[in-house]
Every structure is written in structure tokens, then in C-alpha cells.
């Protein structure tokens, strides 16, 4: 079995790796990571996010978002926290919140977050 759960390039052409070990560690508290279909959403979000924020607690991290669907006017997102390395980025975790924690609190690095 491959050690990579996901290996792709982000929108800037940099390699992004989400290891199987990392996914297994995080899926206990993020049940989304146990859904097969979520892998595809993670990959698409890395490759083509709607917007990217700087992480609230660590400037070396960025947070990728894709809008998924809306329930009662609340938008549900795929959210991915990435650690930026010199040559590649690593996925710390991913989940599906109905809010954007970073909105108005940290720097928008890419795209438009106009909710």
C-alpha cells in the first residue's frame, strides 16, 4: 500500500503530500477523513481552492477552502491545513466546517472570500 493518501500539486505548482499515517492519526476526531469521497474533495481543494488564508497560529501554514454546498443559507466548506516546506507542502488535517475561522482575523492569501 502507498504511504501517500494524496499526492498532488497545489494551485502554485508545488507538490503537496498527505500521508496515510497522518490521515489515520487525524481521522479519529475528523470522521470526514473516513469517507472515501472526501479524498477527491481534498485533492480538488488543493489543486483549485476558492480561497486561501494564512493560518491563525502559524505563519508557515496556510488554510485552503472550497465551497461545497449550503444548508439553510450556511455554506459548508472543505478545509485543509497545509504546512509549507521548502520544496513541498504537507497536509496537517482536513475537515468540513460550516464556517471560516480565519475570516477577518488573518491575511487572505488567494481568491475571494465574499460571504
Amino acid at each position: 500500500m502507498s504511504n501517500y493518501y494524496i499526492k498532488t500539486k497545489n494551485i502554485f505548482g508545488v507538490n503537496v503530500i498527505f500521508t496515510e499515517k497522518q490521515r489515520e492519526e487525524k481521522m479519529l476526531k475528523h470522521p470526514e477523513l473516513r469517507q472515501e469521497s472526501f479524498a477527491d474533495r481534498i485533492k480538488k481543494t488543493i489543486e483549485n481552492p476558492d480561497f486561501i488564508y494564512q493560518d491563525l497560529s502559524d505563519k508557515r501554514r496556510s488554510v485552503y477552502y472550497s465551497r461545497e454546498y449550503a444548508i439553510d443559507s450556511k455554506i459548508v466548506y472543505t478545509k485543509i491545513i497545509l504546512k509549507n516546506g521548502n520544496k513541498e507542502c504537507f497536509v496537517i488535517t482536513a475537515y468540513r466546517p460550516d464556517y471560516v475561522k480565519e475570516r477577518s482575523k488573518t491575511k487572505l492569501l488567494y481568491g475571494k472570500d465574499n460571504e
Binding site: E25, K26, L28, K29, H30, P31, E32, R34, Q35, L56, S57, D58, D72, V76, I81, I92, T93, Y95, R96, P97, D98, Y99, K101
Partner: protein
């Protein structure tokens, strides 16, 4: 009008669900987990069940609910960087409860049992107090 009514009903449902957290947590033996790498604190079963979805409750915390809107776990993002700064009573207690060097630190029920009970009670009352103060985001 109907939308507004639905929203009020959902808000009431959320408030009731959060108030039930202490009973559910005891019944399902929830544990406190600090993911230092992610920066999040979880108060949940060891494994949050499949088909749970994450909803923001206040600016400080969110809850995983099942399809019947029963709480299945609490998540506090930016626990060390943000939450603890607004809730000073957790500072010392966190150091006592989370003593391992592991990046994902699950509070062990065999050690520090009293401190963990205090931590859980403080956390439960904080969650309920914040929705009671009208800090709910919905």
C-alpha cells in the same frame, strides 16, 4: 417568515443539544484530547462516529452532530493561541492535564483523575454559559 421560524427552532434545538453535552459525555465516556499539531482541543468519544457533521456554535467552539442532531464531540480550534487567552481558568489546569510530549495528547483517565474531572466540568459549564450569554452563531 417560515425561514425565520425555522432558524429560531434550530437555534433552540442547538441550545438544548449543547445543554445535554454533560449527560451524553458521561454516558459515552468522552475524553479530552489536545492535538498540539493542529492546535485543537476535542471533548468527544475516542473516535467521533461516522456521518457526524461539524457546526459552529459560537466564535470559540463547534460541535460534531449526528443526523438526529445529537452532539458527538466538541472541537475548539486555536485552543492554545486563542481560547485559553480568553478563558484564563483553563491555563494552569491544561498544564496539569496534558503532560505528555505526544503531538496528540489524550488525557489518561488513570492519571490526574481529579484534575480531569475539574477540567471536564469547567469546559461543560463554559460551553453552556457561552450559548446562554447569546454568543451563539447561527
Amino acid at each position: 417568515m417560515e425561514k425565520t421560524m425555522n432558524k429560531i427552532l434550530q437555534k433552540k434545538q442547538i441550545i438544548e443539544a449543547v445543554k445535554n453535552i454533560p449527560i451524553i459525555a458521561e454516558k459515552e465516556q468522552w475524553v479530552i484530547t489536545l492535538d498540539k499539531e493542529e492546535g485543537s482541543l476535542f471533548y468527544s468519544p475516542k473516535t467521533i462516529p461516522n456521518n457526524s457533521s461539524l457546526h459552529q456554535i459560537t466564535d470559540e467552539y463547534s460541535v460534531y452532530f449526528d443526523k438526529k442532531f445529537r452532539p458527538k464531540g466538541v472541537m475548539i480550534e486555536c485552543y492554545g493561541q486563542n481560547f485559553i487567552k480568553h478563558h484564563k481558568s483553563f491555563q494552569k489546569l491544561s498544564l496539569e492535564v496534558f503532560q505528555s510530549n505526544k503531538k496528540i495528547d489524550v488525557a489518561d483517565s488513570k492519571k490526574n483523575k481529579d484534575k480531569q474531572s475539574i477540567f471536564k466540568a469547567l469546559l461543560e459549564s463554559t460551553l453552556i454559559k457561552e450559548i446562554g450569554m447569546g454568543m451563539i452563531v447561527f
